[in-house]
């Protein structure tokens, strides 16, 4: 049986309670971190999830990793609902969905050698019990992550590696389990620009050679460029625009996407362009604005945007955006 989707997210919501009802407020308040996200990830597909801090993209990742339990909605992994499963089943799923974290300086235990770090997932899952086989898998994971010759790295410690190498170790630690899906949460934002492409190209190769599906979370549309198949732009817990990489980058429909694109620097002083700089920051997700969530910051907001909350509207078969300007 082959499923078309590696991962299917249906109307996923994750709320956190913000304070209890007290003397002055009779109602509980909630942080609407993820507020109704629908997304399908095909096998071998790379979807970029873009948004500013506080838009809920990291909470979405943790919920998909089953590290946070969804408040509402469903997560389907290869056709099977995994939203609320037992701890044992969760462990089995974790073999298939792995994560790469933002800060390679923090996400490795400084007291472990690289060999210990990459072997650990195998031990946790009781895989490759034979010592020789285990070592082979670790070496292969390291080489696949671009650390060659792998033997040179086995006995080193994280502090002896550069930022890019550390991020490769994190990726090797995920690859060793042979996952089907990789969630990369800002994997390059802490790295120098000069080596970011090193990690992005590595992820692109893995998709090609291993058929891994990737959700690439970033605040910077510029870094994903050619690498993503589709781009989903998130704002205040919802996807406001989704489409193929080309559609979103070349013909953005949502004013938020347009603004995000306009502030990406162009490395050519002769092409200085008009930037749409949004004032303020993402509002807090406790008291959501009425109507369209983006209207308080939107440079093109109309009167109707205050009242009516737009759903995703079809632009093309693959391109959708949640903006009332598209209704006309």
């Amino acid at each position: 049986m082959t499923q078309e989707y590696a991962l299917e997210i249906r109307n996923l919501k994750k709320y956190f309670r913000a304070g209890r009802p007290g003397w002055f407020s009779r109602f509980e308040k909630y942080i609407h971190a993820v507020d109704g996200v629908d997304l399908q990830l095909r096998r071998g597909e790379v979807v970029a999830l873009v948004g500013e801090s506080g838009c809920g993209k990291s909470t979405l990742a943790l919920t998909l990793m089953l590290l946070e339990e969804a408040t509402e909605g469903n997560i389907l992994f290869e056709g099977r609902d995994i939203t609320h499963i037992s701890a044992r089943e969760r462990k089995a799923i974790r073999q298939r969905i792995q994560m790469v974290f933002q800060d390679p300086y923090e996400s490795l235990n400084p007291t472990q050698t690289i060999e210990e770090i990459v072997t650990e997932p195998l031990i946790v899952h009781g895989l490759a019990l034979d010592g020789n086989e285990r070592r082979q898998r670790v070496l292969r994971a390291l080489e696949d992550a671009g650390l060659k010759p792998a033997e040179d790295y086995l006995h080193r410690y994280p502090h002896q590696l550069s930022g890019g190498q550390r991020q490769r170790v994190v990726i090797a630690g995920a690859l060793v389990l042979e996952p089907h899906i990789l969630l990369a949460d800002e994997p390059v934002s802490m790295l120098d620009v000069s080596i970011r492409a090193e990690i992005i190209n590595l992820l692109a190769d893995l998709r090609r050679t291993r058929g891994i599906s990737v959700i690439f979370i970033t605040h910077d549309l510029g870094t994903i460029g050619y690498f993503a198949d589709r781009v989903a732009v998130m704002y205040l817990g919802r996807i406001v625009e989704i489409g193929t990489m080309r559609e979103v980058l070349k013909k953005p429909k949502h004013p938020y996407t347009q603004a995000l694109l306009s502030v990406i620097p162009v490395p050519n002083p002769r092409m200085r362009k008009k930037r749409v700089i949004l004032q303020g920051e993402t509002p807090n997700p406790i008291d959501l604005p009425s109507g369209c969530r983006f209207h308080p910051r939107c440079p093109m907001a109309l009167e109707v945007c205050r009242q009516s909350d737009p759903a995703l509207l079809k632009v093309t078969e693959t391109h959708h955006a949640a903006c009332l300007l598209l209704v006309k």
Binding site: F101, N109, R196, N201, P265, V266, P267, P269
Partner: protein, 651 residues
């Protein structure tokens, strides 16, 4: 290929353990404590061999032997029963240490378990365990122990048990707070994402990082246990047949040693207690320094004078860049051949070598390079804020007709902040959390300008906040009520409080979102136009500065790679490093293009390659690059590059 050979071989992997031993051996306090402790442990273990007499036997003792002063046959004299005090001292060491070690083991085990479990699980478990710990903490130990021991048969093991069971509370609290700190680190989350259970995480990720604190704490608990035992024995609550130092004190005190002037019977056990406690304290403090290197202060000590004078190289005079904005713009900063070295003992690191640049009023210069290229060191040198081990070894920094390198500390501190101010990377986290932002800005104004009229302070704060786009109402808010971007703006407002001529912005937008980054860049651009401010913008991202810079200085491995006006840097770069940096920047107008990156990483400044510093990573390197360091070649007026390929390419 010659270039490949330059690829530095990875150093022999140093395990934390070998590193630990090396640092331990170098720590005099720890070594002294350990030696002192080993001496007494050795004596205790081999007591039967070392002690000249058996303290339990009365054989050969005559009535005249009572309270004899120290002599050749009895080094520490004799006691009330005519027995040799030295032998009792040696055997007493054995019991005192046994109690100390075993009681501490029990305490550490209980305290460690409580602390880790409470810290790791939190919630109800933590509540229960820590409230229990608090309860134990407020019960006065000594009376409880006295009651406890009095109720049970006085034996050495009862004493151990009682001291051990009562002495774990501090350990539990310390371990809990360390566990909390470790638990929130990202590698624990990563272990969870791998699928690891709680047991695995505690064993492999929490314990190894809690262990150093536990070890240091254990040492102190041992000495406390020895003291407790002495107290109990002195009160007569220990096994009368087990000789310990406390017991010796008890007997000597109770049987008239003081009245007959037999000081030796009291001094010997007292000396033993002081010796062991001192040894353990030294060892504990030493270990703490070794395990937590931040406590060590020596890297902040001024280094000795450098051997390296810095090979001064004359900067091509014609290469002095003209202002790009206005012909008559005044030069506000002229940095000439500045070199900076870090000196530690006899070794030194050349962090910056012969860097020159010019800054005109109202201009923005981008200082670009990867992490570890000496950018921040150069900026700190400009302000003379280098850590004590850092020195400007040659060059001049001309500001306002004065050479900043030759000013006295008082003179430079007058210029710092008032004329040249700086905003650091992550500076937004440097605001004091318990004072309003407005107050902190006021303080910055008054500190550097004590004569500032009190009446105008309020309006000045509002004016400054307005400059950086923060509404006046926010002046009475606390930093935590600000978002990250607003805090960074507030820091810029503070840096502007004395109307500086130059603002140094050291990666002010790293770790901020693209939109906030754009807001801050926009703000800096406006300030420059509005106030005629000259800005030095430090970044690893060439793309960011393209939008607003007038000129760019690209640094690599502590030297100037290329320096020119912005148009030249982006449209006809000559140094391969500049070219590669530009290629690494994503160009959204061509999203299908595969992104390039520079393989490898910048050289460590203490292991610089002999030739061109970029040669090991350079795709265009040839033999000469490996052996000879290129000098700065002038390509046209105001454009220099340190690359052999640029030789003879000038006009």
């Amino acid at each position: 290929m010659a270039v490949q050979e330059l690829e530095l071989k990875p150093a022999v992997p140093a395990s934390p353990l070998t590193g630990f031993w090396k640092m331990f051996r170098e720590n005099r306090m720890a070594v002294a404590g350990l030696v002192m402790l080993l001496v007494i442990v050795f004596a205790a273990v081999f007591a039967d061999v070392i002690a000249p007499y058996n303290p339990r036997s009365y054989e050969g003792i005559q009535s005249g032997d009572i309270y004899n002063p120290p002599s050749a046959t009895h080094w520490f004299g004799t006691d009330d029963a005519g027995k040799d005090v030295f032998s009792s001292f040696i055997f007493g060491a054995r019991n005192s240490l046994i109690v100390g070690f075993f009681a501490a083991f029990i305490s550490i085990f209980i305290g460690g378990t409580f602390g880790v479990l409470a810290g790791f699980y939190g919630g109800r478990i933590e509540n229960f365990l820590m409230r229990f710990t608090d309860l134990m903490l407020v019960i006065p130990d000594l009376p409880l122990i006295v009651i406890f021991v009095a109720l049970t048969k006085p034996s050495l093991w009862n004493i151990i048990l009682v001291i051990g069971l009562l002495g774990w509370t501090t350990t539990a609290r310390i371990v809990r707070s360390q566990t909390l700190a470790v638990k929130s680190r990202k590698f624990v989350l990563r272990a969870r994402a791998i699928g690891a259970g709680n047991g695995h995480i505690i064993l492999h990720h929490i314990l190894p990082l809690v262990m150093p604190i536990l070890v240091v704490n254990a040492i102190l608990v041992i000495s406390l246990a020895i003291l407790s035992e002495s107290t109990l024995a002195f009160l007569g609550l220990s096994d009368p047949l087990a000789i310990s130092w406390g017991q010796m004190l008890n007997f000597a005190f109770g049987r008239g040693a003081m009245s007959v002037g037999a000081w030796w019977a009291l001094v010997a056990p007292g000396f033993g207690i002081v010796w062991v406690v001192l040894a353990l304290t030294l060892l504990g403090n030493g270990l703490e320094q070794v395990l937590n290197p931040r406590l060590e202060a020596h890297h902040l000590m001024p280094g000795r004078l450098p051997v390296w004078g810095g090979e001064a190289e004359s900067y091509p005079a014609t290469a002095v860049r003209k202002s790009r904005r206005r012909k008559d713009a005044a030069m506000v900063l002229d940095v000439r051949n500045v070199s900076v070295a870090y000196v530690n003992g006899n070794s030194q690191v050349k962090a910056v070598q012969n860097v020159s640049f010019q800054l005109y009023e109202g201009e923005l210069i981008g200082l670009v390079g990867e992490s570890g290229c000496g950018k921040t060191t150069l900026m700190l040198a400009l302000l003379r804020l280098l850590p004590a081990a850092g020195q400007i070894v040659n060059g001049q920094i001309l500001f306002d007709g004065r050479d900043l390198t030759s000013l006295s500390e008082a003179e430079i501190s007058d210029i710092r902040w008032k004329d040249i101010s700086i905003v650091f990377q992550g500076a937004m986290n440097a605001l004091n959390p318990v004072r309003t932002v407005g107050d902190q800005i006021k303080e910055a104004i008054v500190k550097h300008n004590p004569a500032f009229p009190q009446k105008r302070l309020e309006t000045r704060v509002i004016e400054l906040l307005g400059l950086v786009g923060i509404p006046a109402a926010y002046k009475d808010h606390f930093p935590h009520q600000y978002s990250g971007g607003m805090r960074q703006r507030a820091m810029i407002a503070m840096a502007l409080s004395c109307n500086p001529k130059i603002l140094i912005a050291d990666e002010p937008t790293t770790a901020l979102d693209v939109m906030i980054q754009a807001q801050i860049l926009d703000l800096l651009d406006e300030l420059r136009a509005q106030l005629g401010l000259a800005i030095i913008f430090v970044t690893h991202d060439l793309g960011v500065v393209a939008e607003m810079c007038d000129s760019v200085l690209v640094m690599y491995g502590g030297v100037t790679a290329e320096y020119a006006d912005v148009d030249t840097i982006y449209n006809s770069p000559r140094h391969p490093y500049t070219q590669e940096l530009l290629k690494a920047f994503p160009d959204l107008s061509r999203p299908e293009r595969k992104l390039a990156f520079i393989p490898g990483h910048p050289p460590k400044l203490d292991a610089l390659p002999p030739g061109c510093r970029f040669a090991p990573r350079c795709s265009q390197a040839f033999e000469r690059c490996v052996s000879e360091m290129p000098r700065l070649y002038e390509l046209k007026a105001g454009h220099v590059a340190s690359c052999h390929l640029a030789e003879g390419k000038s006009r």
